[in-house]
């Protein structure tokens, strides 16, 4: 647990560092009675040490299935990994045996869930739950694990850690529980932390604290974080790079500043327009909040061309015929849209 220098923001931008996690052409499908549901379709991305990757999209766009796929927590059947590779430090997780995968979960890749109210076992004390992964992965005894658990609670700024260790989850508030979850996820010093909507169930002030905590932890431990959210504000605040998903596919990926400055996909633009702004101007106060018309297409019956075509204001015949490839629009700004170049100037 070394304190990284303050200047690591620059180091984070270093695109030459070897990725810790590479997802390549991942397809997670579900066989259902109504046909094959393609929850994740041909998704690729990589994640470098200490990087925060924001994954955004509407409900049902495959964000959570992506994270569950990386952890291999997708129930199979009905789920299956139809193709692709998830390489963690060069090893393909999809090819590991259940036992090998178990040694990676919680140890090298860990996960925080959306609802801290239900992600802790009500009948075990905080200490019991925290020590579990530590004993399991680090081979420490009970006492050593308790000491480590106390350090972890300190790390996530929980006051009176010793007392908390003996308490049950119902004795803690929501923010506290999410801190405990983070402590649990980090207790084995994982190199990747997957946070699946970690702040959705929390109120705004607590949300800010939890996000600040996650950033602090990234700086301290150089943990790479996959931050799954539908909140663009959180992404703008936290992420280094952003991946926009729609109907199981990656439609745009860019550096966070670049993405907000010049979004190249109509869907990304739609998402950004549907966030209310508090700018204080008289005009914006009466401006109607715009939404993206229509709904996400059924994943078991996707249109032939672009999956966003039916909801897109810039749709052409070509969009309906062929699915657009991801094209680099400069500075590793990838977007899957035929009309990217013809989109009107973006005014934020």
């Amino acid at each position: 647990m070394s304190n990284a220098p303050e200047s690591d923001a620059a180091a984070l931008q270093d695109r030459n560092a070897a990725p810790v996690l590479e997802v390549e052409d991942l397809r997670t499908w579900f066989d259902t009675r109504d046909g094959v549901v393609k929850a994740v379709e041909g998704l690729s991305f990589d994640l470098r040490p200490g990087e925060i990757l924001g994954v955004v999209g509407e409900s049902g766009c495959g964000k959570s299935i992506t994270s569950l796929s990386i952890m291999q927590l997708v129930p199979t059947p009905p789920g299956r990994y139809a193709s692709g590779a998830i390489r963690f430090n060069g090893r393909d997780l999809l090819k590991l045996s259940p036992d090998e995968m178990r040694r990676i979960r919680g140890n090298e890749i860990s996960m925080i869930f959306q609802d801290p109210m239900s992600s802790l076992n009500p009948v075990l004390t905080v200490g019991d739950q925290l020590t579990e992964a530590i004993i399991l992965h680090q081979g420490l005894g009970y006492k050593g694990a308790m000491t480590r658990a106390r350090e972890m609670l300190d790390l996530v700024h929980i006051p009176e850690p010793e007392a908390r260790l003996r308490e049950y989850p119902h004795q803690l508030s929501g923010g506290m529980r999410q801190r405990v979850m983070i402590a649990m996820a980090l207790s084995c010093n994982p190199s990747v932390l997957i946070a699946d909507e970690p702040t959705t169930a929390l109120d705004v002030t607590i949300q800010a604290q939890i996000l600040a905590l996650m950033e602090e932890i990234r700086d301290k431990l150089q943990t790479a974080i996959i931050l799954i959210t539908h909140d663009l504000g959180v992404v703008a605040e936290m992420a280094d790079r952003v991946l926009v998903m729609y109907a199981g596919r990656k439609v745009e990926e860019a550096n966070v500043i670049d993405l907000f400055e010049r979004p190249q996909h109509p869907y990304t633009r739609g998402l950004m327009r549907s966030v209310p702004r508090v700018t204080g101007g008289e005009a914006s106060a009466v401006e109607r909040l715009s939404e993206i018309p229509g709904i996400v297409p059924a994943l078991n019956n996707l249109p032939k061309g672009c999956v966003f075509a039916d909801r897109c204001a810039f749709v052409t015949d070509r969009c309906r015929r062929e699915y657009p490839p991801l094209v680099d629009r400069g500075e590793r700004h990838l977007a899957a849209c035929w009309e990217s170049e013809n989109l009107p100037e973006w005014t934020a």
Partner: protein, 298 residues
């Protein structure tokens, strides 16, 4: 506060937890008078039954034809039966059988049912096979099954216990399985898997403790029912052999002398009713205090 918690970390975890549980238990009893009442009555009943040999009462089997079918008197508080045996002594000794059978059946049925239920709830393939077998067992009325089993194996206390346990197991399995099915998809189970916890450990450490509160209630119910069923089996002559007094066979023997001495049926009946009532009361109270989420509200 800090000092105490520091000690806690130094303590061997098990003993610390046992003390904690004992304190919590005493607390729960204080806050829940009905449970305390049930426990006190049960304790008194157990003391009477297991202390019976030391009270200086006549032997429960000693016959004295001269004193047969007497009304209650200073020498025989509950009177005597048709062979002149002291009814008080017989009823108290009979309590031993009832309590032993009740507790053994509850303990065996819940532990066997718990393991089967856990596995069935977690593994779909095992589930399909085991549950059909359990359904088959449940389709036979439990009392008939018990009578048939005792008839097959011969009457002894042991056989009565086993015969009463078998029909109860499917009910426990169903209960445990339903709780497991509900818990299996909870986020905390997912979170435990995401921590790299093995399936066995998840089953026994994360899921099993959550099945205990409903199981305790079920166990007390089974215990109460086993006490009644033992009496029932003994009453129809398929239970405890006649040389051992039990509430069931005391009543069975006394039913022909109903008009001469009503007490032969009444006293064991009253003891039976009180015991069953006390067990049920205790079980209800136990459930309220076992659930950590309910602890606060009480």
């Amino acid at each position: 506060m800090t000092d105490r918690s520091h000690d806690r970390l130094q303590d061997p975890p098990l003993s610390a937890r046992l003390t904690e549980n004992a304190v919590a238990m005493a607390d729960a009893l204080r806050r829940n008078p009905t449970m305390l009442f049930g426990l006190v009555v049960l304790t008194v009943m157990a003391l009477l039954a297991f202390g019976a040999p030391y009270f200086g009462l006549p032997e429960p089997m000693r016959q004295s034809p001269i004193d047969r079918l007497q009304d209650p008197s200073a020498a025989h508080w509950f009177g005597t039966d048709m062979y002149g045996r002291d009814l008080l002594s017989r009823v108290l000794h009979g309590g031993q059988i009832s309590l032993v059978v009740g507790l053994s059946v509850a303990a065996m049925a819940t532990s066997v049912g718990l393991v089967i239920g856990l596995v069935a709830g977690f593994n779909r393939r095992v589930d399909a096979i085991v549950m059909r077998f359990m359904d088959a067992l449940m389709s036979i009325p439990s009392i008939l099954l018990a009578i048939a089993l005792v008839a097959l194996w011969g009457s002894s206390v042991q056989n009565v216990i086993i015969a009463l346990t078998i029909p109860e197991v499917p009910r426990v399995v169903r209960l445990v399985r339903s709780v497991v099915l509900m818990l299996r998809d909870q986020t905390f189970v997912q979170a435990a898997i995401a921590c790299g916890t093995s399936t066995t450990r998840i089953l026994f450490r994360h899921i099993m403790p959550n099945t205990i509160p409903p199981l305790i209630v079920q166990a007390t119910y089974i215990c109460a029912q086993a006490v009644i069923f033992e009496a029932y089996l003994s009453f129809v002559g398929a239970g405890t052999p006649p040389e051992i007094p039990s509430w069931g066979n005391i009543m069975a023997e006394g039913r022909m002398f109903f008009f001469q001495n009503f007490g032969i049926i009444m006293y064991p009946g009253i003891f039976l009713a009180i015991t069953v009532f006390a067990i049920n009361t205790f079980g209800d109270g136990l459930r309220d205090s076992l659930d950590p989420r309910m602890k606060r509200r009480i």
